[in-house]
Amino acid sequence: MSIITITAGSYSKGEQIAKSVAKRMEYDFADSEIILSLVSREFGVPESKLVKAIKDIPLTVGLFSQAKQQHIIYIDTVLTEHILKNNIVYYGAIGFPFIQEISHVLKVQIIANLEDRIKNKAKLDGESQQKARKTVIKEDNQQKKWAAAVYDIDLTDPNLYDLVINIGHIQDDDVEGALETIINTVKHKKFQPLTYSLRCMKNVAMSCRVRATLADIDSKMQVKSDEGTVYIYTKAVKKKAQDKVLEMKQKVMRLEGVKHVEVYVDNDLFSTVAHGQ
């Protein structure tokens, strides 16, 4: 009855471990590929565009195009709702901050020797060592920068994780050891869901759902929710604030499980100035 998230650098057999954990625990497995296809089906966005949204690195998420911001919100929403079902192993770093504050999510980071990852890639893809090295390092940087820009987190910070496993040279027994460790850890009572933590997870999923619903109106707003009460913090040009709030409330109230909506509007100075109002 838990959720396991596993993040790992490319070619460190992280995915393989995640899949094995899911199989042994009889949990579902999800990775970004599966999530993206779900997003694409639900929101009708081509997968190629979604891939761009999780690969391109803006300076901050604020500098992303409106469309990309929306895509990220869609991905967050589908992910949080998907793992809400529990008994799931999720491999990837997307949506990481949303599961940060949930006590029944076991967050695992797998690290491995860089040289061995490079060898691994060279062997798997039949590439030269040099080329493999370049790709691996580039992908590491990309993942780190993307998470820093979009979620403002440092994925290499061990404080973010409950469990950091170094599988060293990525030998088969290293992988087996990691597998055992994860399964033993997740069985620990600490990571069992509580009424409290389930509620937190539900709240997070609800907040994401609200953001997705309103993404075409405002992709930068913040949403908090608790037991069906939704708090929206947004910015608007003063003149238009009333209409905006009304539109938001109507849209959100139609969502299942929403009992009450509150919208807090900050005066959007920037657009006011930009539009000369």
């Binding site: 003063k238 100075l269 100035v273 109002q277």
Partner: protein, 514 residues
């Protein structure tokens, strides 16, 4: 519309700032200008004059020596002619020959003297010259007489008596003449020697003077250069400690450093205006910390309200009137409790002008502690409070002082481990007319190597995003403004004790005002 207004007002603020700059800058700029460049120029001119004077002086001295040499030569020539005349004269008296030659020599001397009369007059006095000329004239006329006698003698008339008489007088005048001329030569030679001696010494004197002057000027320039630099360094250190009062004029004159002073003052002013923002932003952080605690604390009355409301909802049909009344009262009480929790926070967070009012320090510290009790509860820290009763009142800004104590308590909370202890003491200080507030924790202490820095702005030991590093610097600023002091005793791994002393009022308010 409002926005344009805001813009206008900020524009006005800017222009006000500018005028403020002008008035303060004027104090610095009002001084007479005396730049370093001018200093250097003056020194350069002084040295040029000095060397020119030395050159002119030596030229004059050398030319006067030259003149004297000429004069000495002239005098010697004159002396020679006279001596010649006297030799011929002697011959005449001994062998009766050469009288013609003597007359000739005396005539030569006479022409020579009259030719060089001017020179003689410049060296000798007019009387002496006149005396000299007189002697020479006499001598010549005597020689003339003698010549006349010789002519008479040739004609057979022998006048021995007259000849003897002339001889005596001639010897007298001749001796006198030679004496004067020799004295003249001697005198001139002496004066020339003295002058040569002087000229030999002059380079040494000049060297000494120039050396002294150079030392003096170098010291002066260095003083003019180093002193402002030192003062500026001192100022920057002072500013680094958070004292943003403007730099006083460094010296009486305006110079290159004035621009730096003006710039530093402008910076100070900016910093000062930022400090207000800094105090506010720091307050916001404190509010952030507090809000976390308060949010949790609010959960309790909210829970009570929720449970009561649900109970009423479920049982409203079979509740007695008393039971219903009790629940309604509970609702009201719990709502009140929530309100007072929020009000505490709002009181603290309210932006307010700095107001000085009589304050009960004990009560103020007590209120501050209340704000932090939740935080303490969450981290399982015990706060012991000891407030001496009947303490005199202090004068100060309630919000600001609260912020200081809140800061110290929050820092203490950060420093202690779970189940740590914080002791807060309010009492009379050791120094008279001061009250002291001590906040002591048995936490990790402060390592001595960072102790000198703890009051610096932006100095923090907490991780990124956790502390602004402004807490103690802002506190220090506030306490200094209240004419108090903040000090610290600490032992690594054992304890940290912050002591804030504030002056209390000894004079009743009314008298104090007048």
């Amino acid at each position: 519309m409002t926005n344009t207004l805001e813009f206008k007002s900020s524009f006005i603020n800017n222009s006000e700032k500018k005028t403020a700059l002008d008035t303060e800058g004027r104090d610095l700029l009002a001084r007479p200008r005396f730049s370093l460049r001018l200093h250097l120029l003056l020194v350069f001119i002084l040295f040029s004059f000095l060397s020119m004077a030395i050159i002119i002086g030596s030229v004059i001295a050398i030319s006067s020596i030259d003149k004297k040499m000429h004069f000495v030569q002239t005098s010697e020539r004159y002396l020679f002619e006279i001596a010649q005349a006297r030799r011929w004269e002697k011959n005449y008296f001994l062998y009766d020959t050469n009288l013609e030659d003597a007359v000739q020599s005396a005539g030569n001397a006479k022409t020579f003297l009259s030719q060089n009369l001017k020179k003689f007059i410049t060296v000798l006095s007019a009387e002496e010259t006149a005396g000299m000329i007189e002697h020479l004239e006499k001598y010549r006329s005597l020689l003339q007489d003698l010549q006349d006698l010789t002519v008479l003698k040739k004609n057979g008339i022998e006048n021995t008596e007259k000849k003897n008489k002339i001889e005596t007088s001639l010897r007298k005048h001749g001796a006198e003449m030679v004496k004067v001329a020799a004295a003249l030569v001697y005198k001139e030679q002496n004066s020339m020697n003295a002058m040569l001696h002087l000229i030999q010494r002059i380079p040494i004197y000049c060297f000494a003077v120039v050396l002294l002057l150079t030392i003096f000027l170098a010291r002066f320039l260095v003083k003019r250069l180093i002193r402002p630099l030192n003062l500026l360094i001192e100022s920057t250190q002072r500013i680094a400690k958070g004292d943003f009062s403007p730099v006083p004029p460094i010296c009486k004159y305006r110079g290159e450093f004035t621009a730096v002073e003006v710039a530093i003052n402008q910076m100070c002013r900016e910093l000062k205006s930022r400090e207000v923002a800094m105090v506010e932003s720091h307050k916001l952080r404190a509010i952030g910390t507090l809000t976390a605690g308060v949010a949790h604390e609010l959960n309790n009355p909210l829970n009570n309200i929720m449970l009561t409301a649900h109970a009423m909802l479920e049982d409203h049909n079979n509740l007695s009137e008393d039971g219903l009344l009790e629940m309604i009262n509970d609702l009201i009480n719990e709502a009140d409790k929530s309100r007072s929790i929020i009000r505490n926070l709002l009181d603290f967070s309210r932006e307010s002008e700095s107001v000085s009012e009589p304050l009960d320090l004990g009560a103020l510290v007590g209120e501050t502690i209340k704000l932090t009790l939740n935080q303490a509860k969450v981290s399982g820290v015990k706060i012991e409070t000891q407030i001496q009763p009947d303490l005199p009142r202090i004068r100060g800004d309630k919000q600001q002082l609260k912020q200081v104590f809140l800061n110290l308590i929050l820092n203490a909370l950060d420093a202690v481990e779970k189940e740590g202890n914080i002791k807060i003491n309010v009492k009379k200080a050791d120094s008279p007319k001061f009250l002291a507030v001590q906040v002591e924790d048995n936490g990790c202490g402060i390592p001595s190597h960072i102790l000198p820095n703890i009051f610096d702005p932006f100095f923090t030991t907490k991780g990124p995003g956790k502390g602004t590093g402004l807490g103690l610097s802002v506190s220090h600023g506030i306490i200094t403004m209240h004419r108090g002091q903040i000090s610290i005793e600490t032992e690594e791994g054992k304890y940290t004790r912050f002591t804030v002393t504030l002056p209390f009022r000894t004079v009743p308010a009314v008298l104090n005002k007048t």
